[in-house]
Amino acid sequence: MKNVAMLLLACSCASAMGSVYAAGGTCAAPVALSPLNAAGSASGNTCTDGSGGGATANQVASYCGIQDLSNQPQEVYSVTLAAAGSAGRTATSLSISSTTAAFSATMYLFPGTTAADCANGGPPCGQTGDKTSAIDLTATDVAVATAGTYYLVIGANQVEAKAATACGDYNLTWNNALPVKLQGFSVH
């Protein structure tokens, strides 16, 4: 009779600990996040994080060349990502939530290195996510798969962009799914 024993010292469970960031910045002065190789979160409110406690300013007027975001308050983070699937990118998903009614908090993650790249809003378009759909950071066939510097813009979606209520609170979270590593193996 064979006895197979495997010792798993690491698991794929997400870490509950991690860096916590406050509100985002602007295209000119984004708030830099960790490289998403540890769990973390960031939160803000696009209605009140602006000057004098008012709404933040619009940063990206158009996304992907066509989506009209010109009238919505936004906040901006920057993040340097390792390639998808590499040891440097252990986060597998980037999620956003909001308690503000009638505000579909939306994430726009796209590549760029300068404030002008940020304000231009792509293309390249990167990936998007909202309260109902997280950004998948594991896929190798999407525009955010390659290593590089990205902007993460938080705002409303294009349908809400013209509405006066197109702002609200948000909470970004990303996990740290450590890969499963086989540490021991024996056959008896």
Binding site: S62, S70, T106, S133, V142, N157, Q158, V159
Partner: protein, 253 residues
């Protein structure tokens, strides 16, 4: 004739090109696309085909669909414009075969570009399909080059939504004279029949776009998909027909 017809340029001075899918008793095959002197650009999983059922009562229409890649394109190209300082274009589009758009969907339907790069951009105008707050009702949005000193890109969304089925879209793009903000974009969505130019559906004036000179390349079909379009609407066809372009006079129908 079954081929993609060039319209007789009766208005030789004012006209540029007209492309319709005439069709015949023969199949709506790839030869229908031959009239586009820039050919078809079916890239990264994109497909461009001629299919039965023209949008204007003719036999054939152009069907364009994208693949899953962000770089996917499915369009036909017209290189006959000669840096046109004024460029009118019209086309029929039927997006009814596309499943309901969500807030993260968008795709380009038409673009006109300059010959050279100015401020990092070649595009003069990019017309796209976008959703509205009402599921199943779509709209158009367009970005255009403008000298705003930062991104050199401005954007505008139509206040009038598209109707279900076939829509007739006409634009009149005028470049500014050098040093002035006197360029304009006027457009008509489903204008009433007639050759006399009606009041536009909407317009944007005071554009400083002289740095982009004029239209040299026109592209009709799908491109620049948003990430969600690529994942949720790949393979879904948008139909096009009856493209026409002119330098001066209203196209109408």
């Amino acid at each position: 004739m079954k081929s993609f017809q060039m319209k007789a340029l009766a208005l030789a001075v004012l006209g540029l090109a007209g492309f319709g899918l005439a069709g015949s008793a023969m199949a709506c095959d790839a030869t229908n696309l031959a009239a586009w002197n820039g050919g078809a650009a079916a890239i990264s999983g994109g497909t461009v085909t001629a299919v039965a059922g023209g949008l204007d009562g003719s036999a054939c229409a152009m069907s364009a669909a994208l693949g899953t890649a962000a770089t996917s394109q499915a369009s036909v190209l017209d290189t006959s414009p000669a840096n046109e300082a004024r460029y009118r274009f019209q086309f029929l589009v039927d997006p009814s075969h596309v499943t309901t758009l969500t807030a993260q969907d968008s795709v380009a339907l038409f673009s006109a570009t300059n010959q050279t790069v100015a401020h990092g951009r070649k595009g003069i105008i990019l017309v796209g399909l976008v959703p509205t707050a009402t599921a199943g009702i779509d709209n158009i949005s367009f970005s255009y080059s403008c000298n705003n000193g930062t991104t050199y890109k401005c954007i505008h969304t139509s206040p009038v939504n598209l109707v279900a089925g076939v829509n007739r879209i006409e634009f009149d793009v005028q470049m500014a004279t050098v040093g002035n903000a006197n360029g304009s974009i006027r457009y008509w969505i489903n204008a009433p029949a007639g050759a006399t130019e009606p009041a536009p559906t909407d317009s944007v004036t005071g554009i400083d776009n002289s740095a982009w000179v004029g239209t040299k390349l026109a592209s009709l079909g799908l491109g620049s998909p948003s990430p969600h379009w690529s994942s949720a609407h790949h393979g879904e066809a948008v139909l096009f027909d009856t493209f026409d372009s002119r330098r001066q006079t209203y196209i109408g129908h």
